[in-house]
Amino acid sequence: MDGGTLIVLPAHNEAERIGPVIRACRKHVPGAHVAVVDDGSDDATAETALAAGATVLPLPYNMGYGAALQTGYKYGLATGAAFLVQLDADGQHRPEDIPRLLERVQSNGCDLCIGSRFLAGTPYRQPFSRRLGMVLFRRIASRVLRQTVTDPTSGFQAMNRRVVRFFSRDIYPVDYPDTDVLVLLHHHRFRVAEAPVTMIAREGGRSIHAGLRPVYYLFKMALTIPLNLLRRERGV
């Protein structure tokens, strides 16, 4: 895949939704290599993904979103991908939007481009608690990065090989990579930008943000963001 584009879909029990997502990826980004990281699914996620024409990277057990994503980064690094796009396997992110993100990175306008569901101005409903957290992290990210970041928690991103190499290191926070990753990137002098995407509310299935996790998530961000600023390990 040397020099090509890799699309990474981390998936946990998404057999019902992943097929169309893969096919749409292959349709809208012709020539891209699609890899599904099967994060210890109990259902037929791997078989569905294979049938839809994606490479499957099977993790031996469920390791969580961040570790699954990082597996994709490592795969991209090993196979020589020049660009990498990550999106959710459940159909929340539309593969139609990939070229827009990719173009920003390929034209060297930035090292990592976030797909923001708020830039386009389309309404996206979510519970009040999440909206509160979103506003908070938007403020933090915008303040630290000294630029407006409207959707710092978006998992829809495109990046170049330098970022992929950076994310493959142990420095990458595998439990809940999120706003802190942006701070980390900024700290290491990567350029981050945003492009508008449309988000589709998910039907069925389970989001990774459920139960008590938001509490841990808040705590983790409160701890790691200042710590990342304290760690003086510059350079890539």
């Binding site: 020099g3 024409g53 490479t55 990277l57 099977p58 795969y75």
Partner: protein, 127 residues
């Protein structure tokens, strides 16, 4: 401190040390973890045999009773030990994560119809 108390303390400390050394000998406890335990065993032995050391320590840390000093040391030891474990667990978890990820890359499964290399001119709508 009575002779009775001293004997009990000494027997306890020596048993602890004996078990630690035996575990290391049988390779059930690695040397790198053993040092903290050996230290604890020796501390028990010294404090048990020599009451003045304990009294001195009590004065040093400003505790009211010698028993407080013992509790303080005990809790401190347990804290240090669990902190050491947390550090080790963090490192192990990271290593296991890297191993599992490597394994996933090695076990990569390709679709029946291989994906075309990106440098070839792609056909439109291959679904």
């Amino acid at each position: 401190m009575t002779l009775h108390q001293r004997i009990v303390a000494a027997v306890f400390a020596l048993t602890l040390l004996g078990v630690i050394i035996e575990l290391v000998r049988r390779r059930k406890l690695r040397e790198e973890y053993a040092w903290l335990w050996v230290l604890a065993g020796l501390a028990c032995l010294i404090l048990g045999l020599n009451y003045r050391v304990l009294e001195g320590l009590t004065q040093l840390i400003g505790a009211g009773w010698t028993s407080s000093t013992l509790f303080f040391l005990g809790i401190f030891f347990v804290l240090a030990l669990s902190l050491q474990f947390s550090v080790k667990v963090s490192r192990l978890e990271n290593q296991v994560k890297n191993l599992a990820q490597q394994m996933a890359l090695h076990e990569a499964r390709e679709p029946a119809e291989p994906q075309q290399p990106p440098d070839e001119e792609p056909e439109d709508d291959e679904t």
